[in-house]
């Protein structure tokens, strides 16, 4: 495909806008909001990873955050003083591998867990996968919480701190760096790093969607029996989708650990899984733009709630009746229900998905037409 002028211009404008985004945010809203933007980027990466599993292959994964946790602990264990403290005989100075080695490692380990979990369940109906992943998410948290005795592997509920910051080309992202006379604070640098990774994830997702594999996933999602009758190896492809989603989760987990400098089991609760699922469902399952929209909306929502709902309640009732955290979860839960009932394809539905959920005859015929031409 020859890239046309308009497309190139659009991309260039977007790159420039995103380059200035942290500076503008910093000037208008303060440094804290740049940090929120960084987290929004991480969530978008996670949501795009989950989109492969839920959106493309139609497999409901309710423990997705567990893979994020696996990736985060991979990085935390290898690049923090924890191992040196816990096993001074084995690792006198710790491991401290460079980030670029740990990142793929974290992705692979998470992917391995994905295969382990998916293999027994993917032969069965989708509901089983949902409940097994739900359980897995909890189990990982229980293990992270309890594996501090008798061998201190995860440091239990206290978590692991003093994780090495990420450095790119020997430039540590943990302090303000000056390039060409412009000072880039740490949160800005992380923003650019996460942006680059998000762009990569978007690119990979888009290529996957158009590929033979992506089309096979969608065929499985639409009708598994028909797909397998067409010669698609449904089990292997479902496993691939599951493992691939897990790998994206693991990689974002490693980024999270490096950014945060600290991990603890608390960050990986079921509610986080639900939040990522909400992003995918709200935005539009199977549609990259929709998922990004959902990610941005839901990552910013808690901050907005904190800044609006609490002062509003203070003004109206003189005290905080409903804390923003439970209000947020209540909104997420209701959003899942309302979206499924009234707009099951999401805010920005993918074309195919809209037809599938639309269910009327004309749409069905059109779908058949598309499939045969």
């Amino acid at each position: 495909m020859k890239p046309d002028r308009k497309f190139v211009m659009l991309i260039a404008a977007l790159v420039i806008a995103l380059f200035f985004l942290p500076f503008v945010t910093d000037a208008l809203l303060g440094r804290g909001w740049v940090r929120i933007l960084d987290f929004a980027m991480l969530y978008i990466m996670l949501a795009l990873g989950l989109n492969i599993v839920v959106g493309y292959a139609g497999l409901l994964d309710l423990g997705y955050i567990a893979f994020f946790a696996v990736g985060a602990y991979c990085y935390a264990l290898t690049d923090s003083p924890h191992l040196a403290q816990a096993f001074p005989m084995l690792f006198p100075v710790g491991v401290h591998l460079p980030f670029w080695i740990v990142l793929p490692m974290a992705a692979l380990v998470a992917g391995g867990f994905g295969v382990l979990l998916g293999a027994p369940t993917l032969r069965l109906r989708g509901d089983y996968l949902a409940i097994v992943t739900l359980g897995f998410g909890e189990i990982i948290r229980i293990f992270l919480n309890n594996l501090n005795a008798p061998v201190n592997l995860t440091n239990g509920p206290q978590g692991i701190s003093f994780i090495d910051p990420i450095s790119v080309l020997c430039v540590s992202l943990n302090k303000t760096q000056t390039f060409f006379g412009i000072a880039f604070p740490s949160v800005h640098l992380y923003f650019y790093l996460f942006l680059a990774f998000t762009a990569l994830v978007i690119f990979v997702s888009q290529r996957l969607e158009k590929s033979r594999i992506g089309r096979a996933w969608m065929a499985i999602r639409e009708d598994e029996v028909a797909a397998s009758a067409m010669g698609i190896n449904t089990r292997n492809l479902k496993l691939l989708a599951f493992a691939m989603g897990a790998m994206f989760g693991g990689a974002s987990g490693a980024l999270f650990a490096g950014f945060q400098g600290f991990v603890s089991p608390e960050s990986f609760s079921l509610m986080e899984s639900i939040m990522v699922l909400c992003m995918v469902v709200l935005g539009g399952m199977g549609n990259i733009a929709g998922v990004i929209l959902g990610g941005v909306l839901l990552a910013l929502l808690p901050e907005v709630l904190r800044n609006i709902v609490v002062p509003l309640q203070q003004a109206l009732f003189g005290r905080t009746l409903v804390d923003p955290e439970s209000l947020r979860m209540l909104l997420f839960g209701s959003a899942l229900i309302v979206m499924m009932l009234y707009r099951p394809a999401g805010l920005l539905p993918s074309r195919l998905r809209r037809r599938e959920f639309g269910g009327d005859d004309a749409a069905a015929e059109e779908s058949v037409y598309d499939a045969t031409h």
Partner: protein
């Protein structure tokens, strides 16, 4: 030996609660082919409703002997309304939608219920008033108290009652017919919507009972108690063969035994590496093992893979 007997007793008591909750999962699955994720939260709401009404009644000076059945009935009634509404709002409109849709609304319902409960009852643990004298009995060195005996007997009674309803009554026949083939049942004049609603209500009433039992046994109730309990009860239903009522009962009792024996002996078996704080993990491994080795469960005649 005393420890072994004690763990068996604990396991059977806990297992009978699992069985009651598992029945709710299995009935809904048998009829709709849907995992009602929100079922665990119904258990929690049942426990909380019973607790609140019990404290209120005792506060008004009602005798405990009257207050307890009254509050349990209230909790059952509340949960029946809740179960009915869940089905009406979240599942019925999606009965012909793609499989993913009702699963996602179920998750939504579960989150909403959990957070509503947190807003109403707060984040703290509530202690369940002790109304029945504990009176520990000694059986061959193991201890069983009155509450545990009542839980076990009551659970068995409710299960027997359910079996009678399903196998002997007109309603039960309609339920079995709908589970067998919805369309054929409809053609034979069965009002499927009514049967499905009633199924949800029966399941929710059993869940309320189970909720009261759990909180009476441990003396505690908490807004988060439904989640893990629901997960375990689902495991019990799968272990026994989902869609099969006898299977759910068997699976519940077995899972209770596995869990309590596992938690009792894991420390000795692994040389102290894993302790009883891993108790919640057993159910999960049982679930994986069943899915790998015998996906149709112990008594399941239905094939699990029904695309």
């Amino acid at each position: 030996m005393e420890i072994f007997l004690q763990q068996i007793i604990n396991g059977l008591v806990q297992g009978s609660v699992y069985a009651l909750v598992a029945l709710g999962y299995t009935m809904v699955y048998g009829i709709l082919g849907l995992i009602n994720f929100a079922h665990g939260e119904v258990v929690m709401i049942g426990a909380m409703l019973a607790l609140s009404s019990l404290t209120a009644l005792l506060g008004w000076g009602v005798t405990p002997l009257l207050a307890l059945p009254l509050s349990i009935s209230l909790a059952m009634l509340g949960c029946m309304v809740l179960g009915y509404s869940i089905e009406r709002i979240a599942y019925r409109p999606l009965r012909h939608a793609p499989r993913l849709a009702p699963l996602i609304t179920a998750i939504g319902v579960s989150i909403v219920l959990q957070n509503l409960a947190m807003m109403i009852w707060g984040r703290s643990y509530h202690s369940f008033p002790q109304l029945i004298a504990n009176n520990p009995h000694n059986i061959g060195g193991a201890i069983i108290n009155n509450i545990q005996i009542i839980i076990f007997v009551l659970a068995l009674a409710f299960m027997a009652g359910l079996m009678v309803v399903v196998n002997r009554t007109r309603l039960g026949r309609a339920m079995r017919a709908v589970a067998e083939n919805q369309h054929a049942a409809q053609l034979m004049g069965v009002d499927i919507n009514r049967v499905i609603s009633i199924t949800f209500m029966i399941g929710s009433a059993l869940a309320a009972i189970a909720g009261v039992m759990v909180s009476a046994n441990y003396g505690l109730a908490h807004y988060y108690m439904g989640f893990i309990l629901g997960l375990k009860a689902f495991t019990a239903a799968v272990l026994g063969g989902i869609g099969n009522l006898r299977g759910a009962m068997l699976g519940g009792l077995l899972l209770g035994l596995i869990e309590s024996l596992g938690a009792g002996y894991i420390g000795d078996l692994t040389g102290g590496f894993f302790g009883s704080n891993y108790q919640d993990v057993f159910a999960f491994f049982v679930l994986i093992a069943v899915l790998v080795l015998r996906p149709s469960g112990l008594l399941g005649e239905r094939l699990a893979e029904r695309a």
